[in-house]
Amino acid sequence: MPEPLLDIRNLRIEATSYPPGEPPRHVVLVDDVSVSVEKGKVLGLIGESGAGKSTIGLSAMAYGRGGVRLTGGQILLNGRDIREAPVGALRNLRGKEVTYVAQSAAAAFNPARKLMEQVIETSLAHGVMPKAEAEARARSLFAQLGLPNPDTFGDRYPHQVSGGQLQRAMTAMALCPKPDLVIFDEPTTALDVTTQIDVLAAIKRAIHETGVAALYITHDLAVVAQVADDILVLRHGKKVEYGSTDHIINRPEQTYTQALVSVRSIDHVEKTAAKPVLTVSNVTARYRGTHFDVLKNVSVDVAPGQTLAIVGESGSGKSTLARAITGLLPPTSGRITFAGRDLSRDLAGRTKDDLRELQMIYQMADVAMNPRQTVGTIIGRPLEFYFGLKGEEKRKRIQELLDQIEMGKGYENRYPAELSGGQKQRVCIARALAAKPKLIICDEVTSALDPLVADGILKLLLELQAQQQVAYLFITHDLATVKAIADKIAVMYKGEVRRYGSKTDVLTPPFDDYTDLLLSSVPEMRLGWLEEVLAHRKMESAGN
């Protein structure tokens, strides 16, 4: 067996946290984790947020974010322990032997400097190669990563290229100084599925062609299955399972891994329905002071007890449609009928009942709740405001709602900061339910959550729908979620509805080009999926 390039043995990482109003607490972020990566191999680190995957990734550079201490074990890079290495040696190692690709390329590039300068910066700073050679290497990397016009690409500024291209430029930056190891920290998480697949393919090819070793950190098992040779599953800073990708995906042993692999397996039978509760007809809208329609002639409807999923990539107008329906962005033309009555275009013209029966749940539960109000106040306010409930009556109803969202007793007096991500989203659901709505608009409600938690939220939403016959307008970019819960689907692209109908109709071929691209870009939880899709696309484009 060849000597591993990176060998982490019994790593232990600790930090001191300062919870508000309490004495500082000692926390163990990573506990007794051992992994190794050989030259030319890719190790996937997977786990939910707070599992310690980024912390382990950064430890491969012997780096800890503020307050984080590497307290135990060994980190052997090319056979030497870098955990106790002096700062000078580490400075020489970072950016030369080990490089890093961050999640948000947009935030990682300096907007005032051209891409080329930034891509070759580390190579020059470390004296790896002269400037002309570095530029030539960068251009060849641009070509390898499938960037358009590789010879002139470097002359552009970060704002002149798309998000997916920027992410690839950062990969080029990491590969430029010919490192031994590259750490990819969620490189595709912020991208749309249709872009993600290109970036994923580019990264995979670049890793293969340059022969570097890589750590690939993500929370999406389907993505990591496409690029990694081995996978380490983490939870709460501890190893859950470690093995080859084939082993983890096809024969997981631990229950947690099994749950991750089988996530989104909700069986949802499509419901056909009677008279719609919400009808949007020919709605066109634009933002004030602009001359560009962000919604063009959109017509959709949804019936009681039904879920209409609006899918599309960012910028497709999905959230704008929600704003038009809620009255935050009055449409320039078109009609919105709700519960048998015409809805006023803007918020000010709507009755209290209009507002009550149309509720909204947001993507980020953190900012959707006032941090200075207790859960009791947050849920209690709609009860008081719409139904005039007070005192004991209100308290009883709050408890009822908390029971419905499966949170039980003792939560009324907590503040949002004292809840977990999933609990926060549940409280937002309870706040919407408190108004006894006929329609709830769910704007990406699960995209900020870890897969297992998101699953719980979706199941809860479906249960509540079955009990109360509330309709959902479910905005999402995640097609797996759509398959799990939708009765009807509208595919949006550039402000238009491209495809609309019942779930089976929309998801059954023949597809239009865009829907096909969108559907085939959703990573599937099996090995070799990426190659299949790419080969298929190549064949099709060759046939045309």
Binding site: P20, K352, L355, A368, R372, F385, E418
Partner: protein, 271 residues
Amino acid sequence: MKMPLSALIGLVLTGLFLFVAIFAQFLAPYPIDSAVGGVWESPSSTYLLGTDTIGRDILSRLIYGAQVTIFVAAASSILAFSLGAILGFVAATKGGWVDQVLSRLVDLVMAIPSLIIALVVLSVLPLNLTVLILVMGVLDATRVFRLSRAVAVDITVMDYVEAARLRGEGGGWIIFREILPNALSPLVAEFGLRFIFAVLFISTLSFLGLGIQPPLTDWGGMVKENKDALVYGKSAALMPAMAIAALAISVNLVADWILSRTTSLKGGRGA
């Protein structure tokens, strides 16, 4: 949470100043306005801090002066905050022309040095405590308006404010229940600062003769009365100046502590 030493010192001193201000009538050893000794006597057991330019007991006048100084500064700061914060929040939540009109008006007032406006206005209006407090409060409200508008603009774009709007809540609920609790910590810290500026402002006005009028007195006025003592190496003018400095520092220590405490409150901005 353990209270830092600096906050404790600040709290004790501020408390002492307040106590003296409230119970001035009982604490002062001599009346405010009668000459009880010689001119500029040095501190002695009879006159703990000496006597002033016409032989009045400086300690007694300092104690009465504390009452006036702190009362006027507090009243004008409270006025400035009620006015400035509410208008600032309204401007931030309403936006559009309401915001434009209010903001430009504030710009207009702020464009002229406040001391000059105050001198002009006070030389026209009758000089009494009410007018003084009103003028200082309104002038200071412009600074508070700027701050609270800036803070509130950040908060109004949060989803929870949008959720409240979609629920149909009126302006009152949005301003006082959604925005105010989240804007409180920078405002409280600013209150400490503004209070001190008000103390300095009233002292300045009195020093220039347009502030507190005899027979009442305040610390700024006392500095003015005794400034000639400096030439003769007497400490009379230093006493009120030191009182102003001590009050400024102790209130600031408390404000700092409140700021660090409220920002780390549950889910606050700093948490």
